[in-house]
Amino acid sequence: MFKYVRRELILNKNLIIMFLVYVSVLWIWVSLQKIPPKMAIIIFSFIVPMLSLSQQAREDKFKAWISTCSLPTTRNTMVKARFFTLWIFTFTALFYAVVVSALIPGNQTMLAQLLTLKTLFLSLFFISLCFAFLLPFIIRFGIVGIMIFLVAAQVLGIVFLMLTRLTGRNENFLRSFINLIIDGIKYLFNHEGTLLFYITIILAAAALNLFSLKISQFLLARKDF
């Protein structure tokens, strides 16, 4: 697997450098705008998995799956390596974000808020959540699939909004769903950082990743190149 991880890191070397520059700019902006660390973490959690999208865009562009799958390795190993590489990205980016925060003058308050065990755990949890959702989609349908998904989600949102207007009802499934997510995030941030809380977060993240990994392996195993 590590040969494949090495391959992923070499292939994405320039992308990682670009990403780190982007994280610096984003973090400086977050500090200047005095954006609350909670919000910064949520933004950050959505951006890290985007690396995987860029990676997939390249696979699609160069039709590289054919040469990749002809190497002496299995598809299951490829998926494992992709998850592992994303976790390397995540930890690097998180560490880098902390370093950048520390270097920004007058940013000590934010750094203190960032460096709590709770914010770090929650960051990792949200990133896992995004990975778990995005990766099976990316692996099975490629970049086009993601585009279709985003467009479909947008259309669905518009349809729900129109229905809400037409029926004159404030409550609908989409709104309830979004409220549920917001309440869940609020609950996690407001919950006391007990040992049980951390263990639950770790277990939930591990379970999500494992589930997503198995789904991704199942989907890739059935894909024809």
């Binding site: 040969k3 090495r6 391959r7 070499i10 292939l11 320039n14 390249r58 562009k61 160069f62 039709k63 590289a64 799956w65 054919i66 040469s67 799958c69 002809s70 190497l71 002496p72 390795t73 299995t74 195993a221 059935r222 024809d224 190149f225």
Partner: protein, 289 residues
């Protein structure tokens, strides 16, 4: 005799295409040409061997190893050259080499450097700057540098100039000299096979029409020329494809002796069929002319 490649009852259905009960084998020390018109199923067979697409049924063994159960060991012994090599365009050749080489325990760096020199490959340049022919040469250098025992080549000559095509064919003949290696290459340029291939497998519409030694193909298949009046209902089934004109007919047969017997005493011309003629008549010749 150890079989480098053994395929039994292979089936695949996708995008409206059917590969029907494909069976053939390639012994060590030989070159097999997989021929057939475009869309016949040549690339599908090669992709199935490499597990790039999933089979519906059948068995594929490479040096006795199941292509699914022993995938890593099997792929370690295969060198693959794709019709349109698909490497990351933004990477330099030497970078691609450094990634690929790690996957093969038998990788030979000196051999790779020598091949790059022979093929005049600019290692410091990006893949995107290479022509299609140079891309194929690079893929070939990668395939040969890990001492592959089975070379799978999908239309390797289609983007190459005649000089390199000839060089490639000569190199393939050299590769099998130690009688341990084998080469399977698909092509629709049949002239490539005349000098190099020992076995010919002809595929059309997802079905194998024949798979035998090149010599046997030359013995069995012939072009028969004669007057149109000779084409009676008893004779027609002996022909695999017929072209008729006002001057007479030209037909392909795989049973010369039977044709000679049934048309003895008639004014007939029987000539050995070239691979091009076989391909042409099988794909374009009318059968019930």
């Amino acid at each position: 005799m150890v079989q480098a490649l053994e395929i039994k009852g292979l089936r695949k259905e996708y995008n409206g295409f059917f590969l029907k009960d494909i069976s053939f084998s390639l012994p060590q020390g030989y070159v097999m040409g997989l021929i057939g018109p475009n869309g016949a199923g040549k690339t599908t067979i090669i992709k199935l061997i490499l597990n790039l697409i999933k089979k519906k049924a059948g068995e594929i063994r490479v040096f006795g190893m199941d292509n699914l159960k022993q995938e890593i060991e099997m792929k370690s012994r295969i060198g693959f050259v794709h019709e349109v090599p698909s490497f990351y365009g933004y990477m330099k050749l030497e970078r691609v080499k450094s990634i690929v080489s790690r996957f093969y325990p038998a990788w030979d760096d000196k051999l790779f450097s020598r091949l790059c020199g022979e093929f005049k490959l600019p290692l410091g340049k990006k893949i995107s700057s290479l022509s299609r022919g140079m891309n194929t040469k690079f893929a070939l250098a990668l395939a040969l540098s890990h001492d592959a025992d089975l070379l799978l080549m999908d239309e390797p000559t289609s983007g190459l100039d005649p000089v390199f095509r000839r060089e490639l064919m000569e190199r393939l003949s050299e590769i099998i000299q130690d009688e341990q290696k084998a080469v399977l290459f698909s092509t629709h340029i049949t002239s490539d096979l005349v000098r190099t291939a020992d076995y010919i497998t002809y595929i059309q519409g997802g079905e194998i029409i024949f798979s035998s030694t090149k010599d046997k193909v030359r013995e069995d298949w012939a072009i028969v020329k004669g007057e149109n009046e000779l084409l009676t209902d008893e004779i027609l089934p002996l022909f695999k494809g017929i072209r008729k004109s006002q001057y007479g007919f030209k037909a392909l047969t795989s049973d010369i002796e039977k044709v000679r017997r049934q048309l003895s005493g008639q004014n007939l011309i029987v000539e050995k069929a070239s691979l091009d003629e076989i391909m042409f008549f099988l794909s374009k010749g009318e059968i019930n002319a």
